[in-house]
C-alpha cells in the first residue's frame, strides 16, 4: 500500500511542480536583472492556454510528428520516476542511472526526428546541434557514472544515495564528478551558456529551433517535458550529491521530511542556476567541445583520483 502511494507521489508531484520550478528560475533571473518578471504561476497559465488551443499541423506533417511529443514526454516522465527524490525504499523500478541516460536519449532522438519531419531549415539546424551536444555530453556523463559507481559499487540511484549518505567524506574526486555532471546537465537541459531557453533569435536556437513547427497541445507537451527535464537533472544531482534527508524506510514522518527537503534542494538548485545564467554569456556553437571536453576531463580525473585513494588505503 505504502509502496503504491510512494509510486503515485513519485509520478504526480514532479510533473505538477516542474512548471513552478521553471517559473521560480525565471522570476529570480528577472529580479537579478532588475525586472519584476512574470508571476510564479505563469508557466501553468501558458501550458493551460496551449492545451486549449487547436494545434496547427503543416500539410506534410506525418504520424511521427504528432506522436513524438507524447513519446518524448513519456520517456522523460519514466526517467523522473526512477529517481529517488524523497525515499530510497520500495523504489526498485529496475532502471539505473545508465537506463535514465538512455531514456533521455530516446526523448532527444524523438524530438530531433520530429524537428526534421516537416522539412524546414530551422528544424534541421536544431536537430543537428542537439545531436552534436548529445554526442559531446555522453562520454563525460558515462565517465562520471564510472566515478560514482566506484564509490557506491552500483549504478542504481537508491544505492548511490545510500552510499553517499553514509558519509564518504569530502573528496576531490567526487567534486570533480559533480562538476562533470553539472556541466552535462547544463548542456542537456539547454541552459546558458550552451543554449538559451528564452532566445528568439533563430540562428542561436538549439532546442527551440527543433520545435518551431509545434503548436497547441503538442507544444504544451514539449514545454512541460523540458520543464520536467530541468527538475529531473536538479533532482538527480540532489539525490547523488546531497542525499540528506532521503527516507530509508516507509515511515510517514521520514517521508514528509524527505519530500520537504527535496523541495528545498530544488529551490536551492534553481537559485544557483538563475545566478549562474545571469552571470555568464552564451557560447558560440563551436565552443561546445571545449565546455564538454572539460566535463570529460573532470570525469576522468575523478576516476584517477579515486584509483589513487583506493590504492593508498
Amino acid at each position: 500500500m505504502t509502496a503504491l502511494v510512494i509510486l503515485i507521489v513519485q509520478l504526480i508531484v514532479p510533473v505538477a511542480l516542474a512548471p513552478l520550478l521553471t517559473g521560480f528560475v525565471r522570476k529570480i533571473k528577472a529580479r537579478l536583472l532588475g525586472r519584476r518578471g512574470p508571476a510564479l504561476l505563469q508557466p501553468y497559465r501558458d501550458l493551460a492556454r496551449l492545451m486549449r488551443k487547436e494545434p496547427v499541423l503543416a500539410h506534410n506533417a506525418s504520424w511521427l510528428f504528432r506522436g513524438a511529443p507524447y513519446g518524448a514526454f513519456g520517456a522523460v516522465w519514466l526517467a523522473m520516476t526512477a529517481i529517488p527524490i524523497f525515499t530510497t525504499s520500495s523504489l526498485s523500478l529496475g532502471l539505473d542511472l545508465i537506463a535514465i541516460a538512455g531514456l533521455l536519449g530516446l526523448a532527444r532522438i524523438l524530438i530531433a526526428l520530429a524537428g526534421m519531419d516537416v522539412g524546414t531549415s530551422f528544424g534541421g539546424i536544431g536537430a543537428s546541434r542537439e545531436m552534436t551536444i548529445g554526442a559531446l555530453a555522453e562520454p563525460a556523463l558515462f565517465v562520471a557514472i564510472i566515478a560514482l559507481a566506484l564509490v557506491a559499487n552500483s549504478t542504481a540511484l537508491p544505492d548511490m544515495a545510500k552510499a553517499m549518505g553514509d558519509g564518504v567524506g569530502l573528496r576531490v574526486s567526487l567534486a570533480l564528478a559533480l562538476g562533470a555532471i553539472v556541466m552535462v546537465a547544463i548542456a542537456e537541459t539547454g541552459r546558458i551558456p550552451v543554449d538559451n531557453p528564452a532566445t528568439h533569435l533563430e540562428l542561436t536556437m538549439v532546442h527551440e529551433a527543433m520545435v518551431l513547427e509545434y503548436s497547441g497541445r503538442h507544444l504544451a507537451m514539449i514545454e512541460l517535458g523540458a520543464m520536467l527535464k530541468l527538475a529531473l537533472y536538479l533532482s538527480l544531482i540532489a539525490c547523488i550529491f546531497t542525499p540528506w534527508g532521503i527516507a530509508r524506510d516507509a515511515d510517514a514522518a521520514a517521508l514528509a521530511v524527505g519530500l520537504g527537503l527535496w523541495l528545498a534542494k530544488l529551490a536551492a538548485g534553481g537559485l544557483a542556476l538563475a545566478i549562474f545564467e545571469t552571470a555568464i554569456a552564451k557560447m558560440r556553437v563551436f565552443r561546445y567541445p571545449e565546455f564538454l571536453g572539460a566535463a570529460l576531463l573532470f570525469g576522468i580525473l575523478g576516476v584517477v583520483f579515486l584509483y589513487i585513494s583506493q590504492h593508498l588505503k
Partner: protein, 679 residues
C-alpha cells in the same frame, strides 16, 4: 532431441544448400525458379534454426560430436555442436530466413538472377559449416567457402567499376585473413600436427606460441569482422552486394568471424594473457568510435550502414577483450558477464543490422537510389517500411526499451567491472574504453537520426523520392519479423540471456570454479541483474510497459483536455517558408558540426565552398573531402611498397636458364645449411 537428430538436420540443411546452388545456376534460363529456390533456402535455414535452438535450449548444453570419413587422409572431418556453435548457427540461420524471404520480392526484377541465386546457398552453407567445424581443415574449408561465395555476390553488379574494385580489395583481405588463420592453427597444432580442435584444447602451448597464435587469430578473424585498421574492405564490399546479401554479410558473416575469435582466444590458444584482452578492448573501443564517426559522414545509405557495422563489431570486440582480461586474471564471474554481453550484442546486432540493410534495400527498391541527398519524405510513401526501419534505428541507437540498449547496458556494466582489474594498465584503460563506447553510442544515435531524418522525413528532394512505391509483401514480412524480435528481446532480455549465460559460463569457467549463475535467476523474466561486486538491475519490461503506459496516459489526458482536434496549414518556418525542397538541411549539413569537431582531426575532413565572383549569377559549389586514416597511414604506403617491390622483382622473369639453375642450386645449399644449423 538427441544428438543424432541434430546432425541429421544439419546434414539435410547442407545437402539442401548444395542442391539449391545447382538449381540457382539455372535461374537465368527459368526465372520461374526464383520463388521456389528462395522459399527452399528459407526452409533450409528454418531447419538449421530448429537444430540450433534445440541445442541452445537443452538444459545441459549438450555437446555432440560427429566424425565424417571424408577430408584429408588420416585426418577425417571432425564436427562438434556445443552451445557457442549453436548460438552462431542460430544467428546465421535467422538472418538467412529473413534474407531468403526478402529475396523472393527483391530478386523478381534482377536481370541475371543466377548471379545471386547460385552463390547465395553456398554462402549460407559456408556460414553453417564454420561454427560446427572441430578441426582446422574443416573450419578453413567452411571459412573459404563463405569468403569466395560472398565475393561472387559482391560481384553481382560487376558492370560497375566501383564494385569490381570492392571485390578485389575484399578478395585480397580475405586471402590475407585466411593465411593468418592458417598460421594461427599451424602454430597451435605444433610439430605434432594436432589439427583437431580437441587436440588443441588438450595441448598446453608455450606462452610465446600461444601469443603468436592469438595475434594471428586477431589478424585473421579481426580482418573478417572489420576491426580497425583492417576494416577498409568492409565499407566497400558490404554495400556492393544486393541488399539481402549485405544484410547477411553484415548481420551474419561478421558474427562468424567473431565466433572464430571467441573460440580461438578463449578455448584453443591455451591460457589467455591479460594483455591480449586489454589490446582487444582498446582496439574495440577505437574501432567503435571510428566506425560511428565515419558512418556519420557517409552520404550513401548502404555505406553508412556498413560503417555502423564496424562500430558494433568494435563494441562486441571490446566486451570480448574485457572477458579475456577477466579470465586471465582469474575473475571468472566477471569474465562470464563480459562474454554474455558480447554474445548478446552479437545476437542483437545481427537482428537490427539485417533489418536496417533490408530497409535500405527497400528504399533502393522503391526509389532506385542509394544517395541520401536525393531522398526525403519516404514516411508518406513507404508507409509500412518507415515504422519498421524506425524500430531498427532506435534499436541501433541503444535507447530503451529496445534490444540494443539491453546489450549495451551489459557491456557498460562490464566496463565498470573492469575498474576492479588488478593491472594498472587495465584500470586506466577501462574509463577510456568506456568513454569511447559512450561516444560511439552517441555518434551512432546522431548518425541514425541523420539517416532516418534525411531519408524518411522532410520533403522529397528528388523526383525518385517523390514517386517512391511500397515494396513487396515478402520483403515487408522479412523486416517485420526482425523488428518483432528487436522489440521482444528488448522487453524480455532475460529470455535470450538464459542460454547465453550458460554458454558464457562454459567458456569462461571450463574447470567449474563458479558456484552460482551469472545473472540473478529469480527475476529473470522481469529484469537483468548481474551478480558480482557491482549491483545493478535493468528491467526491459518496466521500460517497455512504463513507456507505453505513461505515453498512453499523456495522450489520453491531452486529447481529453483539448478535444483531439487538429488543423492543417502551411509550414510556419519562422514566417518565411520556402517551397523549394533544396532549402532543407541535407545529409552533409546535418553532420557538419560533428564532422568539424571530430572529423577534422581523425578523418582530415575539409569543407570547401567556392563562391562565384561578385555579380556572377552562377551557382556556388560545396565540396567535402575526408580520408580514412587506415588507408592513408597503412594501406596506401603498403600498396606503394608492394608495387615498387614487384617492379624490382619483375627482373627475375627475364633471366637466362643457367642463372635460374644456379639460383635454384643456391637455394638448395641455403636450405641444407639451415637444416644443418638447426640440427
Amino acid at each position: 532431441m538427441s544428438g543424432v537428430d541434430q546432425w541429421a538436420l544439419i546434414g539435410m540443411v547442407q545437402a539442401m544448400f548444395l542442391v539449391l546452388a545447382v538449381g540457382g545456376c539455372m535461374a537465368n534460363r527459368w526465372p520461374v525458379l526464383i520463388v521456389p529456390l528462395y522459399a527452399l533456402a528459407a526452409l533450409a535455414c528454418l531447419i538449421g534454426t530448429v537444430a540450433a535452438l534445440s541445442t541452445l535450449l537443452a538444459a545441459d548444453g549438450g555437446v555432440s560430436r560427429l566424425v565424417l570419413p571424408v577430408g584429408l587422409p588420416d585426418i577425417q572431418s571432425h564436427l562438434r555442436l556445443d552451445g557457442l556453435a549453436a548460438l552462431f548457427l542460430a544467428i546465421v540461420n535467422i538472418g538467412g530466413i529473413a534474407a531468403a524471404v526478402y529475396g523472393i520480392g527483391y530478386d523478381a526484377h534482377v536481370s541475371q538472377p543466377a548471379r545471386i541465386l547460385a552463390p547465395f546457398p553456398l554462402f549460407l552453407a559456408g556460414m553453417n559449416l564454420v561454427p560446427v567445424a572441430d578441426d582446422a581443415f574443416t573450419f578453413l574449408i567452411g571459412w573459404e567457402l563463405m569468403s569466395v561465395a560472398s565475393w561472387l555476390l559482391v560481384l553481382t553488379s560487376h558492370e560497375q567499376a566501383d564494385n569490381r574494385r570492392a571485390a578485389l580489395v575484399y578478395l585480397t583481405m580475405a586471402a590475407f585473413g585466411a593465411l593468418a588463420l592458417l598460421m594461427a592453427f599451424g602454430a597451435l597444432a605444433g610439430a605434432g600436427g594436432g589439427y583437431t580442435f580437441e587436440a588443441m584444447r588438450r595441448a598446453t602451448p608455450s606462452p610465446t606460441i600461444a601469443t603468436l597464435a592469438a595475434l594471428a587469430l586477431l589478424l585473421g578473424a579481426g580482418s573478417k569482422a572489420g576491426l580497425a585498421p583492417l576494416h577498409v574492405w568492409l565499407p566497400l564490399a558490404h554495400p556492393a552486394a544486393p541488399s539481402h546479401v549485405s544484410a547477411l554479410m553484415s548481420g551474419a558473416m561478421t558474427k562468424v568471424a567473431l565466433y572464430a575469435l571467441m573460440r580461438g582466444l578463449l578455448e584453443l590458444a591455451g591460457t589467455p594473457q591479460w594483455w591480449w584482452g586489454g589490446l582487444l578492448a582498446v582496439i574495440g573501443g577505437l574501432t567503435a568510435a571510428l566506425g560511428a564517426l565515419q558512418s556519420l559522414t557517409q552520404n550513401d545509405t548502404k555505406t553508412l550502414l556498413a560503417y555502423s557495422t564496424i562500430e558494433n563489431i568494435g563494441v562486441i570486440a571490446a566486451a570480448l577483450g574485457l572477458a579475456v582480461a577477466f579470465k586471465a586474471s582469474g575473475q571468472t564471474l566477471q569474465a562470464g558477464l563480459a562474454l554474455t554481453a558480447a554474445l548478446f550484442h552479437a545476437l542483437n546486432h545481427s537482428l537490427f543490422k539485417s533489418l536496417l540493410f533490408l530497409g535500405a534495400g527497400a528504399v533502393l527498391h522503391g526509389t532506385g537510389t542509394r544517395a541520401l541527398d536525393r531522398l526525403g519524405g519516404l514516411i508518406h510513401r513507404l508507409r509500412w517500411t518507415a515504422p519498421l526501419v524506425l524500430i531498427g534505428c532506435l534499436a541501433i541507437s541503444a535507447v530503451p526499451p529496445l534490444n540494443g540498449f539491453a546489450s549495451e547496458w551489459l557491456v557498460f556494466q562490464s566496463v565498470l567491472d573492469a575498474t576492479g582489474l588488478g593491472h594498472w594498465e587495465m584500470k586506466f584503460a577501462a574509463p577510456v574504453v568506456g568513454a569511447l563506447l559512450a561516444l560511439a553510442a552517441a555518434l551512432a544515435a546522431a548518425g541514425f537520426v541523420r539517416f532516418y531524418g534525411i531519408a524518411f522525413l522532410g520533403r522529397p528532394r528528388d523526383r525518385a523520392a517523390a514517386g517512391a512505391h511500397e515494396v513487396a509483401p515478402s520483403m515487408l514480412a522479412a523486416m517485420a519479423g526482425l523488428a518483432g524480435l528487436c522489440l521482444a528481446f528488448g522487453a524480455w532480455p532475460g529470455v535470450p540471456l538464459a542460454p547465453l549465460t550458460r554458454i558464457a559460463t562454459t567458456l569462461a569457467d571450463p574447470s567449474g570454479v563458479l558456484s552460482g549463475p551469472l545473472l540473478d535467476g529469480r527475476t529473470a523474466w522481469l529484469a537483468v541483474a548481474p551478480h558480482g561486486e557491482l549491483t545493478a538491475v535493468y528491467s526491459g519490461l518496466v521500460a517497455a510497459l512504463g513507456l507505453a503506459a505513461l505515453t498512453g496516459i499523456v495522450v489520453g489526458v491531452a486529447s481529453m483536455v483539448s478535444g483531439g482536434r487538429v488543423r492543417r496549414g502551411p509550414a510556419w518556418d519562422c514566417g518565411f517558408p520556402n517551397p523549394d525542397p533544396a532549402t532543407q538541411y541535407t545529409a552533409s549539413s546535418l553532420s557538419q558540426p560533428l564532422r568539424r569537431i571530430f572529423g577534422s582531426v581523425v578523418l582530415a575532413a575539409r569543407d570547401r565552398v567556392e563562391m562565384p565572383p561578385a555579380g556572377d549569377l552562377g551557382p556556388a559549389r560545396f565540396a567535402s573531402t575526408l580520408r580514412d586514416p587506415a588507408w592513408h597511414y597503412l594501406f596506401d604506403p603498403l600498396i606503394g611498397l608492394i608495387t615498387r617491390a614487384t617492379e624490382r622483382l619483375n627482373l627475375l622473369q627475364f633471366l637466362a636458364i643457367r642463372v635460374y639453375l644456379s639460383l635454384m642450386f643456391a637455394a638448395l645449399i641455403g636450405l641444407l645449411i639451415v637444416v644443418a644449423v638447426a640440427r
